[in-house]
């Protein structure tokens, strides 16, 4: 077997990109989204659901979505992401509409995550303050996590977003240091949380003592009483609720796996390293998610459900307990036996996790904005790159402004209008992207055989990527429909309206470009070479 390739001295083909680096980049993009907030709320949001099981089941579609993205990105490394995968393989209008839906879904996701993040930072500071005997710090933490005025959450979330903007704009060594901190702290804190909770199986006597030590004497009993008085009853576990939890929570948490694959062009061992790195990153993330969810419910028992119920139904009655929206660190940090450092690490793990996904997410969405601007399907301004910072200034501003809108929508500021404006369901949009990316992979060997060539693999004579793509497409449709069943009708309507706006924009730009003699279909469709 000839192993030698005669490589010219003048080549970029010696570049190496190890799988460990890819793995780190994939995990950096994933961990932090839904695990610290959504998982702990599942007993209320999806009554009867089993959160750890939801993350186990959720790994199956996540795996197929990850592999779809990994494969497509490794054979089209400079394509620019799912907008081009879908446009190039299925239809440009579909790619465009899905992309618009994803930006806007990201606005809401930024908002939701950062609004929750203010709470987490409040929890962290309160824990640190109490543990260190600093009353002022503890009070400030309580102020942030359960503020008397909801404007505090709004301002806090916007400030967090502005720090993200600052760091991704300046880049360089400062950004590297910033990214290292926001990546390692949640990883360490998450592992500590898992270990602490596994060592403390739930029993009312021991749990209540630990809880009261952190949240106030009598807090545990207060919550239990309020829950029972307002109609809480244990709900029998049911698979249907768990499946809805997969769609609404677990898949949200697993999003973000494909970011590294854009670098797979012209490297020494490209496809294998990319696939190995992205898939192992997804699997390791799954282990962390499942362990964290399982350990939290193992240690928290029915109290988690009671707390959710009491908070969402009757938090006005809380006197002792701070009115903090349920988050994992609230529960995990009580098991550190008074060790302030450990408690703070757990609490900041949660806070950093919701925060650290923002820079990668913002950059990913700005690339989508770029692609549209290059294809003249979005204002040209959004393709400008700052000469000083090498960052796409206007595209980032666009996403930051959108994030602020998302924060306003997600915060309690809007009051009753919140349910109307909050209808842009992020999971709805992401699942659309995953579903059609699966379809793009399935069709690739047929519609773009020359691109498929570099990832060619067959099982029983059938293209393996197509098999995986079909599975991804099917699972995507299933969970898309399942997610829709847990959405309010108004939310479905608003999400569909957003997609309609996306289509209207496409038609507008198609006509605008047509007047200049450009048929948009020809920009991305293949020239027949023969």
């Amino acid at each position: 077997m000839s192993k030698t390739l005669f490589v010219r001295e003048a080549t970029g083909l010696v570049r190496e990109f190890g799988p460990f680096m890819v793995l780190m980049m994939a995990m950096n993009n994933m961990i932090g989204a839904g695990i610290w907030g959504l998982s702990i709320r599942m007993p209320y949001t999806y009554a009867g659901s089993d959160a750890p099981l939801a993350f186990i089941i959720g790994l199956i579609p996540a795996f197929f979505f990850a592999i779809s993205y990994a494969w497509l990105a490794s054979c089209m490394p400079r394509a620019g992401g799912d907008y081009v995968f879908i446009s190039r393989t299925i239809n440009p209008a579909l790619g465009y509409v899905v992309t618009i839906g994803n930006f806007l879904g990201r606005w809401f996701s930024i908002g939701f995550l950062l609004v929750t993040d203010v709470t987490l930072w409040g929890v962290a500071l309160r824990i640190l303050g109490k543990g260190a005997g600093n009353a002022a710090l503890a009070d400030f933490g309580t102020f942030l996590s359960a503020p008397p005025d909801v404007t505090v959450i709004l301002v806090g979330a916007i400030l967090l977003l502005l720090t993200v903007w600052f760091f991704i704009t300046i880049g360089g060594t400062v950004f590297k240091a910033y990214t290292a901190i926001i990546w390692f702290v949640p990883l360490v804190g998450g592992i500590i949380a898992i270990l602490m909770q596994l060592g403390n199986p739930f029993s009312p006597a021991t749990f209540s003592k630990a809880w009261d030590a952190v949240w106030g004497t009598g807090s545990y009993q207060e919550i239990v009483t309020i829950a029972q008085n307002t109609g809480w009853k244990p709900t029998a576990p049911n698979l249907d609720a768990t499946i809805r939890g997969v769609a609404g929570a677990a898949l949200f948490a697993y999003s973000g796996f494909h970011n590294p694959a854009q670098w797979s062009g012209e490297v020494k061992n490209p496809r294998r390293n990319m696939l190995v790195g992205i898939i192992s990153g997804t699997l390791i993330t799954a282990v962390i998610y499942i362990s964290l969810a399982a350990s939290t419910f193992f240690a928290g028992g029915d109290f988690i459900s009671q707390y959710n119920w009491a908070y969402y139904r009757a938090r006005a009655q809380f006197v002792i307990t701070p009115r903090i929206e349920p988050v994992v660190p609230m529960f995990a940090a009580i098991f550190t036996g008074g060790n302030v450092l450990l408690a703070f690490l757990i609490a900041t793990a949660g806070a950093f996790s919701l925060y650290h996904v923002q820079p990668a997410a913002l950059m990913m969405e700005t690339r989508r904005v770029f692609s549209l601007a290059f294809d003249r399907l979005f204002p040209e301004r959004f393709a400008n790159v700052s000469e000083r910072f090498h960052t796409p200034t206007w595209a980032i501003i666009f996403m930051v402004v959108g994030g602020i809108i998302g924060i306003i929508i997600s915060s309690p500021v809007l009051g009753p209008l919140r349910s109307l404006a909050g209808g842009i369901n992020a999971t709805f949009m992401y699942l659309l992207g995953y579903t059609f990316t699966g379809l793009a992979l399935a069709l690739l060997p047929i519609v773009r055989p020359e691109i498929y060539e570099s990832i060619k693999a067959e099982v029983g004579g059938l293209p393996l990527p197509s098999i995986c793509g079909v599975v991804a497409f099917g699972l995507g449709l299933f969970f898309f429909a399942t997610n829709a069943t847990v959405m309010a009708p108004m939310d479905i309507s608003i999400s569909c309206l957003i997609l309609g706006i996306g289509l209207a924009l496409y038609v507008y730009y198609a006509f605008k470009n047509k007047k200049m003699g450009i048929d948009l279909k020809t920009l991305l469709s293949e020239i027949p070479p023969e």
Partner: protein
């Protein structure tokens, strides 16, 4: 009057990309098509015969095939930009043992493909001035000879060529230094005088197109991963470390002379456009290994850019 042009770059030997390039004028209904540098491929793939079978190694895979499958496989390899070389075991060992022999074999295969390309172009474009081709830093000088002799493409390297509707174009495939010590590299201090001399050939700059292979320094069209000494990519928790790799000389020239349009390539990852005052600079990027012809459609009207669109065919 509008001049509609298509520009692509860095096809790196991809057969399918060349064939698509030849179809661009009809497909996109443009007046001219310009192909920037780095025309030649980067690897020879020896396909060693063993009895009735051949075997080769590519993209991390070991492939065995029969004689009947050989032609089709060679087409696929050529479409990725590489040079398939079916050979006997002795020949493979001979090449493996001699860098000079490898270099000569590269030259031979590059010239063969380049000649095949211009012959293909001749079928439709003989005697016409619609295809403009220039080499880049990766291309050996033998490419220039073949282009100059062609009756179907206009060879542009280090010349001022006239385009329809009163537009002119100057081309230069030389770049600032890269880690790979390629054929056409010069430090910016020496590159700039070369470009200055080229620019003096133009009578005016209002309708001048500069087809310079390297993008202007720090233009956003030249951002590439940083490399360590062993050519591995520098990655940190912040992601891949990037830096501008373009030419300061080219940037000075663009800013000084303010041509209408800058056409660039060289940095495959850095597709995009950038305005320097009135000058629009574009880099279409490259996806040659995937058989995708990345390009830019640019419509010119007088001394203005009427529109520009990135394409991926």
């Amino acid at each position: 009057m509008t001049l509609k042009l298509f520009f692509a770059s860095d096809v790196h030997g991809s057969d399918i990309c060349w064939r698509k390039f030849l179809k661009v004028i009809d497909y996109h209904k443009v007046d001219i098509a310009i192909l920037g540098g780095d025309l030649t491929g980067k690897m020879v793939i020896p396909m060693v015969r063993d009895g009735e079978e051949y075997s080769y190694h590519l993209f991390g895979r070991d492939v065995k095939l029969t004689k009947a499958q050989l032609d089709e496989e060679c087409v696929k390899i050529a479409n990725s930009g590489y040079y398939p070389y079916p050979c006997e075991k002795e020949e493979y060992e001979r090449l493996g043992g001699s860098e000079d022999a490898q270099k000569r074999k590269f030259n031979e295969l590059m010239a063969e493909r380049m000649q095949k390309w211009v012959d293909l172009a001749s079928e439709r474009f003989k005697g016409k001035s619609q295809l403009y081709v220039s080499p880049g830093n990766d291309d050996r000088l033998i490419v220039d000879e073949i282009l100059e002799k062609s009756d179907s493409v206009v060879a542009c390297e280090k010349k001022l060529v006239s385009l329809p509707d009163g537009y002119d174009m100057v081309s230069c495939g030389w770049v600032n230094p890269t880690p790979w010590n390629t054929t056409r590299e010069l430090p910016d201090e020496k590159l700039e005088p070369m470009l200055e001399e080229l620019m003096t050939k133009a009578e005016s700059y209002g309708k001048l197109i500069c087809n310079f292979h390297a993008p202007p320094y720090n233009s956003g069209l030249d951002i590439a991963p940083k490399l360590k000494e062993d050519f591995s990519v520098k990655v940190s928790v912040g992601g891949v470390e990037l830096a501008p790799m373009g030419s300061k000389a080219i940037r000075h020239i663009v800013e000084k002379y303010k041509p209408l349009l800058g056409l660039h390539g060289h940095i495959h990852e850095s597709a995009g456009f950038r305005r320097f005052g009135r000058t629009l600079c574009v880099n279409p990027g490259s996806e040659y290994a995937e058989g995708v012809l990345r390009g830019y459609l640019v419509f010119l009207s007088g001394e203005k850019i009427q529109g520009h669109w990135r394409v991926a065919n």
